[in-house]
């Protein structure tokens, strides 16, 4: 194990995602990507699925990536990473080419919720099952943002998107958020963690553990999108924090030990588990986002807000049980 990451050390590490990219002002995706990259052990190769991060960082003739990076398509980040990993293994075995030099290589795949929950789920499942040594980072902004805010399997219940509009009859998305972490954990993935950019140290530490994991690791990052979630650009981190404080998006890790998933709550969520009165009502999270505006205006939709609260509570309780708390 390498030395534990500290903010003091990490601040000195140069950014591997350079300034001058063209993601929206206030976008969480580059915050998360920068933090993940800061946790790299050294040699690193990245692939990125089609989506906001990919398009806005590589508008020809410019690139913001200071590491070897490839984009191939939307639904195949895990498969592209599998190929890179297999190439590295083969090269090492044969002692051929530059990749043969590296005893450890951080292979990271970034993909959005569309590229993960939906169109990329099969490639992800295949790569997890085959056990490639790579880190998959899900940038979950809960919709297809790059194509203009369409709903995905990761979009939460009642959220407005351009394909789940809040109409007079239907109040936004009718389905619940797909439990992607459970799906990944069910693959007996060696390391799974949820992260929020509001907690940079926690995020970097988890990314470091993911890189160190032998076999596949999965990092699920909540990635508030000011444009698609309809909040001012300076509130990104506030929203990312509220997601955790309301237990809408609890922070935890799950490792497989002796074939069993071992859940461990991370400090911000553990604090709530220990002092439940600290758990904020989900309403505080919903209220500051325009995509849930129809739950409060023109009139308050108490029933819907309650349903969302019950969903949060039930999933939180289930998580506490899994974490033996």
């Amino acid at each position: 194990m390498s030395k534990a990451i500290t903010l003091k050390e990490a601040v000195k590490k140069p950014d591997l995602l350079a300034s001058g990219h063209r993601l929206c002002a206030g976008c969480a995706e580059p915050i998360i990507a920068r933090l993940v990259l800061k946790a790299s052990r050294g040699a690193i190769i990245a692939t990125t699925a089609t989506g906001c991060l990919e398009v806005a960082t590589t508008i020809f003739p410019y690139s913001a990536w200071r590491i070897p990076w490839i984009h191939t398509a939307f639904e195949n980040a895990a498969a592209t990473a599998s190929g890179i990993e297999a190439a590295w293994r083969a090269m090492r075995r044969k002692g051929r080419g530059p990749l043969a030099r590296y005893e450890t290589l951080d292979i990271v795949a970034f993909a959005g919720d569309g590229g993960t929950y939906d169109i990329g789920l099969q490639a992800l499942s295949g790569a997890l099952e085959r056990g490639h040594d790579f880190t998959y980072v899900l940038l979950d902004n809960e919709a297809y943002m790059n194509t203009g805010i369409q709903r995905s399997g990761g979009t939460p219940y009642c959220a407005w998107t351009t394909t789940s509009p809040a109409g007079t009859v239907i109040p936004g998305k009718r389905e619940w958020k797909k439990p992607i972490d459970e799906i990944v954990i069910a693959h007996e993935t060696p390391y799974v963690a949820t992260v929020s950019p509001a907690y940079p140290l926690d995020l970097m530490q988890k990314a470091a553990r993911a890189f160190e994991t032998e076999g596949p690791a999965f990092i699920h990052a909540i990635s508030p999108c000011c444009r698609g979630w309809r909040f001012p650009s300076n509130k990104t981190i506030e929203v990312a924090r509220l997601a955790v404080e309301t237990c809408f998006f609890p922070l935890y890790e799950c490792r497989v030990e002796d074939g069993r998933p071992i859940y461990k709550l991370s400090p911000p969520s553990l604090a709530i588990a220990k002092r439940p009165e600290r758990k904020k009502p989900v309403e505080e999270y919903l209220r500051i986002q325009g995509r849930f505006r129809h739950l409060f205006r023109p009139e308050r939709r108490e029933g819907l807000i309650e349903r969302i609260q019950r969903w949060v509570d039930r999933r939180w309780e289930m998580l506490l049980e899994k974490a033996d708390l």
């Binding site: 601040v11 950014d15 350079a18 990219h21 002002a25 690139s63 913001a64």
Partner: protein
């Protein structure tokens, strides 16, 4: 000034980008920029980690913003635990 774009024979093989994004200045995107009160600042470094642009550095031992890239999102000011950042109009 608009520079002439290269013809296809001049472009690198494989559609490989040949300019760093550092040459692309996004500093004119927003209307505001952060102003640091170094008296109040505790050097917690959080603003460096929260900035989506990587525009805040601590090379000088205290936060400094690179206005060539700051898009004026206001995250740093919103998050500074010491209240040491204020958004002011650019220019």
């Amino acid at each position: 000034m608009k520079e002439a774009k290269p013809g296809w024979r001049e472009l690198p093989f494989g559609a490989v980008p040949y300019k760093s994004s550092l040459e692309y200045h996004t500093g004119d995107w927003g209307v505001e920029r952060p102003e640091f009160d170094l008296e109040k600042c505790t050097r917690c470094t959080l603003c460096h980690f929260y900035c989506p642009e990587g525009a805040i550095s601590f090379d000088a031992g205290h936060p400094e913003v690179d206005l060539r890239y700051c898009k004026g999102c206001g995250i740093c000011a919103n998050e500074c635990p010491a209240g040491a950042i204020r958004m002011v109009r650019k220019g």
